[in-house]
Amino acid sequence: MKIWIGIILSTSLLAGASLHMNMQSLMASIYAAQSVRAAQQGNAAGAVGRMKSATELSPRVSTYPFFLSSYYSRSNVPTYARREIDRATGGNPHYYRHWLHGGLNLWQLGFRDAAVEHLEQAHTLVPNSMPMRELLAQAYINMGWPDKAVDLLEVARRLPSNTSWAYKSEQLLGFAYMDLGNNPAAKHWLLASLEHAPFRWTCADNIKALQQLETAVSREALDKCSKASR
């Protein structure tokens, strides 16, 4: 009998804890929705306050810190925004979207090294995603690491590439080889990319790059020629 009373009491306590947690979670979801409405109405302070309450009541929900980070970004408080992004990705480290959006937001905030780390983590979680791979390669190129971009994109070539979406990967390979000074490879990939380009407007960057390459090749040829005549 005493054992059963103990079981009933302890299960009731657990049930009470579960009830409390679920009520908190419900309130958090309501506060979060109110925060979004406040932000839409231009009430930044109200939006931040409500979302902070939501985060405190339900710390396991990763979406709320993302909203907070966007509010801090808009209010020009990049360090707080970064803190919230780290909190969001730490809450659920398996979901690639958190790392992806966190990386993109960090890039815009100017934390480029941290942004690349986030994008690398997102790529690890979705290794077969071509858009994810291209995004990371673009980040490597912008950071001045074309060799890393080449390594990444060369692996992607083993995936089926004879469809129109391959143009971006081939274009990025062209840009990366340009930065590495490997002009023949750059020209090869930029021309290959043009064959897969889905729309005319997507050719503009390739054509501009090819023109730069031709100028560079011509200049190199002239230099060699001038040395020969001496």
Partner: protein, 393 residues
């Protein structure tokens, strides 16, 4: 506690709030979050009563309780050995439905509540009547959405197909398919006026076009027809037996015709290929972690790591294997798949004509997705199966 259980049956499938009132990760938070919170809060309130009734009446050990206990124990072990026990315990998105341990434990409590509280044939009949009524009421928003007469905006953005108060036609089909089976069972067993509840069910299921639920319903009807003939026909007169069975199976053909007639079966080629890819991926996950699987609620994350590039190089991102057994095996290992099958096998073996509902449900779950409303109902029916066995013995 009876009131709590009947409230769950009536309120959870219909629970929703206006769009923008709650915010969680799910796009359909306005229909999913109220259901989750309602189920968990009401279940927590029922726990002291469940504990007292368990002390008073106890739970007998039979195939159903053994299957449920095995499933719950295996879920605990799969969580402990998960690639991320915290996610497997709390869920991939906290506060949302899924196959996390905390969600499974709540369903286990629902089973216990029904198993101990609904211990007379009259109470069971009341529960099943409320289930039939709930399905009929839940069918109405689907029908109203189809005719653009629904006063409330419950359709997810960019989705044209009606989904009632469930946010997704597949979820709606799973629930209404199950309640339709219960309604037909009641009609066959009790009184024909229960068939009135079938009218909105038929309309909603046709509008939804959810092939899984229609397949499940057809299989259910075939099994029920066979059971009725086996029990009541003169087996020595094989012509009468065969003729009666074939006549009783006509509704199954009509249901199959509905699945074809609404047009969606014609566009199935690509979707079948998509399902095959997901099932293949699920089997790959099982092969990678055969003992305890990748962990409850870890399917999406692990599948993304092996998902091949699809349209425009973007991998598919399913959060469910669209097959109950494959999903359970992927998340909880080969043992998890076995105990998941055991839930159906044990309940079908002991529940007499109600077995047709479990067989039909299993058929539907071979291609469908179990979600909070129909999952809650399924665990309640497990409780009914337990009591059916107890009352018969």
């Amino acid at each position: 506690m009876t009131v709590i259980i009947l409230s769950l049956v009536l309120l959870v499938p219909l629970a929703f709030v206006p769009k923008g009132w709650v915010l969680v990760e799910a796009e359909i938070a306005y229909v999913e979050a109220p259901k989750v919170y309602l189920l968990r809060i009401l279940t927590a309130l029922a726990v002291p009563c469940i504990a007292i009734l368990l002390y008073d009446r106890g739970l007998r050990l039979n195939w159903v309780t053994a299957a449920v206990a095995a499933f719950l124990v295996w879920a605990v072990m799969a969580t402990v050995f998960s690639t991320d026990p915290a996610i497997s315990f709390w869920g991939e998105f906290y506060g949302q439905d899924g196959s996390s341990l905390i969600a499974t434990l709540h369903y286990g409590l629902v089973f216990c509540a029904v198993a101990v509280a609904f211990n007379t044939p009259e109470r069971i009949k009341t529960l099943l009547t409320i289930v039939a009524l709930s399905g009929a009421v839940a069918s109405m928003p689907v029908i109203l959405q189809h005719f653009h007469a629904m006063p409330l905006d419950l359709l997810p953005s960019g989705v044209g197909r009606p989904s009632g108060t469930f946010g997704n036609p597949v979820f709606a089909g799973s629930y209404l398919g199950l309640t339709a089976m219960v309604t037909v069972y009641l009609t066959a067993r009790e009184r024909t006026w229960y068939s009135l509840f079938l009218i909105p069910h038929v309309g909603a299921l046709y509008i939804l076009g959810s092939r899984g639920s229609l397949i499940g319903l057809a299989v259910f009807w075939i099994v029920l027809a066979l059971y009725i003939m086996w029990q009541h026909a003169d087996r020595s007169n094989w012509k009468l037996w065969l003729g009666g069975t074939l006549v009783l199976m006509v509704p199954a053909l009509i249901i199959g015709g509905m699945a074809v007639g609404n047009g969606r079966i014609v566009r199935s080629g690509e979707e079948i290929q998509g399902r095959l890819t997901i099932w293949q991926g699920a089997l790959t996950l099982v092969g990678g972690s055969p003992a305890f699987g990748v962990g409850p609620d870890m399917f999406r994350y692990r599948y993304l790591q092996i998902s091949p590039p699809g349209q425009r190089g973007v991998p598919e991102e399913p959060d469910h294997a669209h097959n109950w057994l494959a999903h359970s095996a992927a998340e909880m290992g080969i043992g998890g798949g076995i105990v998941a099958a055991g839930l159906y096998g044990a309940s079908a073996a002991v529940s007499g004509p109600l077995a047709a509902v479990f067989v039909g449900r299993l058929a539907e779950q071979m291609v469908g997705v179990a979600r909070i409303s129909d999952l809650m109902l399924f665990w309640m029916l497990l409780g009914v199966a337990y009591q059916t066995k107890v009352l018969r013995s």
